[in-house]
């Protein structure tokens, strides 16, 4: 039987990680399934487990003038219901899981799971969100898009844990999320798309595009977006095919049980085009 620590305080959790490496479990909706054993058997973790689910001090949504701060233990349902939550993240959470999962799972868990099909990641990439990472020794912050390094690969040392997600407050006039999945709810995406834009007096002031399940991480390319800043609506619509050419080399999906690479690539390009021509 593996050892377990049920932390009730933030300090207790950091100390446990300082003492020895643990698998960290918050809601557990991914960790239990990934490590499941036979019916009736305990979850088959390979190393000690640190349960952080009961740390109330990490369960919050706060904001100030420029940012929204979400504690690592905050449930998806709480985030969905908060009036502080950005529109794109609300749209995604509403579609990404059933109520039972939303009452259990955390946003921090979706980040740490580092799946290219993790729906919430599209909002976090598009919003330039940060994760706060803590150990006994230090606190650091980095972009979610830097924290996630590949499929299930994250920039987290064995003595560290995610403590907070920080989302910059930004206003957008166009907010789009499309999830392509075999059914409407409670499904893992074949691919997903998030688009944000701020259009003022017919000029593109800001545009952001993120794609899920078409590469080893969520795809977002700021250099492509920057090329079209300052364009008029008509000009960017005329450039739609060139934007697709810009994205084409970065969309490299795989074949798996949910879909195939040809379908994923074509639909991803179609969704980008649809977003551009509807601006």
């Amino acid at each position: 039987m593996v050892k377990s620590v049920i932390a009730k305080t933030h300090q207790q959790a950091l100390q446990a990680l300082h003492d020895r490496p643990h698998a960290i479990v918050a809601g557990g909706t991914d960790m239990l399934i990934q490590n499941r054993s036979h019916t009736g058997m305990a979850i088959g973790y390979k190393k000690s487990v640190l349960y952080i689910n009961l740390i109330e001090s990490l369960n919050y949504i706060r904001d100030d003038e420029n940012h929204i701060y979400i504690g690592a233990n905050t449930r998806l349902e709480t985030i969905l219901r908060s009036n502080k939550t950005p529109a794109i993240l609300k749209k995604i959470i509403y579609e990404m899981a059933s109520p039972a999962i939303r009452y259990t799972a955390t946003l921090a868990g979706n980040i740490a799971n580092a799946s290219p099909a993790g729906d919430s990641l599209l909002a976090l990439y598009a919003m330039d969100s940060l994760v706060e990472i803590q150990s006994v020794k230090q606190t650091r912050k980095l972009l979610v898009s830097d924290f996630i390094q590949g499929v299930r690969k994250i920039d987290l040392s064995s003595d560290e844990m995610i403590t907070e997600i920080i989302i910059p407050k930004e206003q957008f006039t166009c907010v789009s999320f499309k999830k392509v999945a075999p059914r409407q709810s409670d499904a893992i995406s074949k691919l997903s798309f998030a688009g944000l834009a701020r259009v003022k007096n017919g000029i593109i002031e800001d545009i952001r595009i993120a794609l899920g399940a078409v590469f080893i991480t969520v795809v977002r390319h700021r250099e492509i977006e920057e090329k079209y800043l300052g364009s008029t609506i008509d000009a960017i619509k005329d450039q739609a095919d060139n934007i697709l050419k810009d994205f084409d080399p970065y969309i490299k999906p795989i074949d798996d049980q949910r879909s195939n690479r040809h379908y994923r690539k074509q639909v991803a390009l179609n969704l980008i085009k649809d977003f551009i021509i509807q601006l």
């Binding site: 239990l32 349960y51 109520p99």
Partner: protein, 157 residues
């Protein structure tokens, strides 16, 4: 082994066991409550649904460690409430039960939905049930049952 204290159907329980066990297994094996059932075992089907602090959760996806000092209600505990009586009668009236395997989870999902939103739209009912699969595919009758429960249970939620 760890001591876990929690409320099960309103009664305080203490159990010394492996905290890495699933809540579903503890409910069924240690407390012999077989209303919550294992369907998929991965949080997709809702047959194992219970209420934790009044919210629906899949007990197959909850480690016992996360239940410490929390309140769990299974279909057995919920069946002693007036809300259950209304939902049960509505399911019977609408024919919302076929093989019955999904029914405890469907009733828990209904209670979780109505306790947060006593007058859901059709779309909200569907979203409320989106984590519960009925392999007899009797969804329309279940939705009809919930609409009957909303009407007959006015004021209960």
């Amino acid at each position: 082994m760890t001591m876990i204290n929690f409320k099960l159907n309103g009664i305080k329980k203490t159990i010394e066991t492996d905290p890495n066990r699933r809540l579903l297994d503890v409910i069924r094996e240690d407390f012999k409550l077989t209303g919550p059932k294992e369907g998929c075992g991965e949080g997709e089907c809702g047959a194992c649904a219970v209420l934790m602090n009044g919210h629906i959760v899949n007990s197959c996806s909850v480690p016992l460690a996360n239940v410490d000092e929390q309140a769990i209600v299974t279909i057995e505990g919920f069946s002693k409430t007036p809300q259950y009586e209304v939902i049960k009668d509505a399911f019977a009236e609408a024919g919302g039960v076929q093989c019955g395997f999904c029914t405890p989870g469907m009733i828990i999902a209904t209670q979780s939905l109505l306790s947060h939103n006593p007058h859901p739209s059709d779309e909200e009912i569907k979203i409320g049930l989106s984590g519960n699969l009925c392999r007899c595919t009797g969804y329309n009758l279940i939705i009809k049952a919930i609409k009957i429960a909303i009407k007959k249970g006015e004021g209960l939620w």
